[in-house]
């Protein structure tokens, strides 16, 4: 049944740049959650949150090196590979593998991001042994049989074709190219019909071998399992992998600003995107930028852009800004959609608010409110289910932030001053942004 919401679902994240690390906020008001670091004799490490209230176990892991590792001309390989791990492994063909997985009451998923290939498994605790064996098989000995490879490829190609005339999809490609030029971040993660046509099972095997190693592996587990059992299981699942991956280095980059991309279509609403420089999550200015973005157009529905564009004037259903942090690039991106006849007005309003932020920064009250929000909201946003906990703990480890990160982050946020925010706002937002307009040409009106 169709459901309509007052606020857009996932409003802060509809942007055109993949968000790999969403979790840079604060921490729970009171941490009821104990994270254990588990290390096996063969050196595999995982973070565990043990909990028996529900008889399920959730495992989440990541191998660093995602679609940026696709060989040139074979773009889409990592994504295709991710679609094939449940299509047969070891002695089990597709049918046998999926039947056993289903009998074991387990869900298994893989997906390729830009900077990592992610996997997860959710299983009823009393059936974890069978399920984990299947996971090991999928990771170590995926078959990539010709039949399933051809089928999954055809499904992906069908998806690409289906979107070929969709303005949003066309815009996404153009935006990536405009911002990142020849860098792998401008690629379509799912590839194209041409690049996918060249993908052979041997290419998939080679890519898996390069990417799947213990040295670039991050694991988090939540649920009904203790450290001792987990150690044995970790060795069983991941122990057979080689020590180190073989990754192609990826250059650092930044979005190209001061340009305008127009995607003309006759549409009932006009999409607007603006990109500014971002800040790496390793940068000491990061939390100042994070709080600044929060006040400008971040997740809370109390932001300046939200108030000006939606609440006061009803120009849009959604407007938001996001700090995008990939491994090799950062950006601040603003996105909205509005009536074609008022798109010029909306764009000008957004620019005015950004300029005001660059010139004046934020007030003490705004900063205080933002700090409370991002500190208080951590548990709600990041720890409210086993999957959320496992995702968050993988992200924290991948950024190498430390097991005390959740507590430390609170202090880092509290330490940010109005002056810090003013300074970072000026640095990031004074430049002329990249702007994309999807829809009818803007009507230049006075007003």
């Amino acid at each position: 049944m169709t459901m309509f919401n007052r606020l857009p679902i996932g409003a802060a994240k509809p942007l055109l740049v993949a968000l790999v690390f969403l979790g840079l906020a604060a921490m729970p008001a009171r941490a009821a959650m104990a994270i254990q670091e588990v290390r096996t004799s063969s050196g595999i490490k995982a973070w565990l949150v043990e909990d028996y209230s529900i008889p399920i176990v959730t495992v989440r892991f990541a191998f660093r090196g995602g679609s940026t590792q696709d060989p040139s001309g074979k773009e889409g390989l990592a994504n295709l590979m991710a679609g094939l791990f449940d299509e047969g492994a070891g002695d089990l063909d597709r049918e046998a593998f999926q039947e056993r997985l289903d009998d074991a009451g387990a869900e298994m998923r893989f997906d390729a991001g830009r900077d990592a290939v992610y996997g997860s498994m959710r299983v009823l605790a009393d059936q974890k042994d069978v399920a984990f064996d299947l996971l090991r098989l999928a990771i170590e000995q995926p078959r990539f049989d010709q039949g399933p490879t051809d089928r999954v490829r055809a499904q992906i190609v069908s998806g690409i074709t289906a979107e070929a005339k969709d303005p949003e999809a066309v815009a996404k490609i153009a935006w990536g190219k405009a911002l990142y030029g020849e860098h792998p971040y401008s690629r379509q993660d799912e590839g194209t019909e041409q690049t996918l046509a060249t993908a052979k099972p041997s290419d998939l095997k080679a890519l898996r071998k390069r990417l799947f190693a213990r040295g670039n592996l991050t694991i988090a587990v939540a649920g009904a399992i203790d450290a001792g059992a987990l150690k044995r299981d970790l060795d069983r699942i991941f122990g057979g992998l080689p020590a180190e991956p073989s990754l192609v280095p990826v250059a650092e980059t930044a979005p190209k600003l001061a340009q305008e991309v127009r995607i003309p279509y006759d549409l009932p609403q006009t999409g607007l995107r603006l990109a500014y420089a971002g800040v790496s999550d390793k940068d000491p200015r990061f939390f100042a930028a994070y709080l600044m973005n929060h006040i400008l157009g971040g997740e809370a529905f109390t932001s300046r852009l939200w108030n000006e564009v939606r609440e006061k004037r009803g120009l849009a259903y959604h407007i938001g800004s996001t700090l995008v942090n990939n491994d090799h690039a950062s950006a601040l991106v603003i996105g909205t959609g509005t009536r074609p006849d008022r798109a010029a007005e909306t764009l000008s309003l957004v620019r005015t608010e950004v300029r005001r932020m660059a010139e004046e920064g934020v007030s003490e009250e705004e900063l205080e409110a933002a700090k409370k929000n991002v500190i208080g909201g951590y548990a709600v946003d990041h720890l409210n289910s086993s999957s959320a906990i496992a995702n968050t703990l993988v992200a924290i480890q991948m950024e190498d932030l430390g097991i005390d990160y959740i507590e430390r982050r609170k202090r880092l946020i509290q330490a940010v001053t109005v002056e810090d925010v003013r300074s970072v706002a000026k640095q990031l937002l004074s430049a002329d942004p990249a702007v994309m307009i999807v829809g009818a040409p803007l009507e230049r009106r006075k007003g």
Partner: protein, 442 residues
């Protein structure tokens, strides 16, 4: 009234689901979950788009937006700011049968959230100054989610064709021309009629116990006077359907066509015993995922579809729908996909399902309820939606057992009874090119 006296079903231990009534008639459900220091409260009003007066489509959803515009005690923005300050998450949603509001916060803030939520149950202040820009927001929402989205448009049109008389034919967001006319008095009338404790259900899931919830709820919601008793929710019902209808949407943004076919089917509230459970199993076996017949046959074996499946919407107040869908792959045509989907339905009508399929389908459905317990908001919404559409906490708790009891004969019987090919609605989403050559286009 004491806790015990008010209890519909008092919890026996700390982890058990609690269910009781406040003295003003508001029903409360508590789902304890102590894994993380968070709690979700959801308030469901038993009023949705199918309860709207004729000509006022979209008023339920518009009021949902207007509920954030402030009361005499808490001016507009104050509730949002409060939720933001503690880092909570909030939203609201409207469907045909209910409208719901929720916040996820730390347990310390639950009482404050209840205070705000109870306050706006009766004390909303609506002025034209807030009505007009918010009406622009919902019009923009319609542009974004329906007008600008071929799938959204087709969905709206097939619903309007599937239901010939029942208000489920009317889109939840409303028809554009009626939304443009919605005004203050429409909103106030809907609010005054339906927003009262005796027409509401509070669901609280999270790091809290039933006793605490009862104390906080009694102090906040309990202080709101009971409203007049509402009459039974009797909506216009469907006549006997006896035609096969087709809806075609061609759109220049579409490159690969897609197909869906729907039937009016019963719901958990109005059905013969076991039928809704059998329909849930039928949807699972026919098209519930990678192990389903549609996926195995159309996607894997025949290779004519990139995706396909089936679903049943049984949690509705009145009879709802059963749908099959798919999209062709490679050189295959949409007709081939439609024929193959029809063939899968026919096979079940003629020969039923195997015992092994049935057993595995049951395992998957029951397992999905265990997995659902992992999410507090997910659990709160499962309970709220079921209770707002006529089920009870007991029904939900007994559901796994009822699913287990379904026989293959029952699955075949509901397929035969409800998936009649001569009484269906087919929806086609087609590329614009076919508008000149395809015989299905207008």
């Amino acid at each position: 009234m004491t806790f015990e006296a008010a209890a519909v079903e008092a919890p026996r231990d700390e982890s058990e689901i609690g269910n009781f009534l406040l003295s003003n008639g508001m029903e409360v459900v508590v789902i304890p979950d102590h894994r993380a220091p968070t709690v979700t409260q959801m308030v469901f009003y038993k009023a949705g788009n199918a309860d709207e007066p004729p000509g006022k489509s979209g008023i339920a959803h518009f009021l949902e937006h207007l509920m954030f515009k402030g009361t005499s005690k808490h001016p507009a923005g104050e509730f949002d700011a409060k939720v933001a300050e503690i880092g909570g998450e909030e939203n609201a949603f409207t469907s045909s049968d209910y409208t719901a509001y929720y916040q996820t916060v730390t347990p310390e803030a639950l009482g404050t959230m209840m205070e705000f939520e109870a306050d706006r149950m009766r004390h909303l202040v609506l002025t034209d100054a807030v009505i007009v820009p918010e009406r622009d927001v919902i019009l923009q929402e319609r542009r974004l989610r329906v007008e600008d989205n071929p799938e959204g448009l087709l969905e709206e049109e097939t619903q309007a064709t599937l239901y010939q008389n029942h208000p489920y034919r009317i889109p939840v967001i409303g028809w554009m021309h009626e939304m443009e006319q919605l005004n203050r008095s429409d909103a106030v009338a809907f609010y005054d009629r339906y927003y009262a404790p005796n027409n509401a259900i509070l669901v609280v899931a999270g790091d809290v116990d039933a006793g605490t919830v009862w104390r906080l709820a009694d102090k906040t919601y309990g202080a709101i006077p009971r409203g007049p008793d509402l009459p039974q929710r009797v909506r216009p019902q469907e006549p006997e359907q006896n035609t096969k209808r087709t809806v075609v949407l061609t759109d220049p943004r579409v490159t690969v066509p897609s197909f869906e076919k729907s039937w009016v089917a019963p719901c958990y509230r109005i059905t013969e015993p076991g039928e809704a459970e059998a329909l849930d199993l039928l949807a699972e076996i026919l098209g519930g995922g990678t192990r389903s017949r549609i996926n195995q046959e159309l996607v894997v074996k025949q290779g004519i579809a990139s995706w396909g499946g089936a679903y049943f919407q049984g949690r509705s107040l009145d009879p709802s729908s059963f749908t099959i869908y798919g999209s062709p792959r490679g050189e295959a045509t949409i007709e081939a996909v439609e024929d193959a989907l029809d063939a899968e339905v026919r096979k079940i009508i003629e020969t039923g399902v195997t015992d092994v399929e049935l057993e595995k389908g049951k395992n998957r459905l029951v397992r999905s309820m265990i997995f659902a317990r992992d999410s507090q908001t997910g659990m709160a919404s499962i309970y709220g939606k079921a209770l707002a559409t006529g089920s009870t906490v007991y029904d939900l708790e007994a559901w796994p057992l009822r699913v287990r009891a379904v026989t293959s004969t029952q699955v075949q019987a509901v397929a035969r009874k409800y998936l009649n090919p001569d009484r269906s609605v087919a929806g086609y989403l087609l590329p614009r090119e076919s508008a000149t050559s395809g015989d299905k286009s207008r």
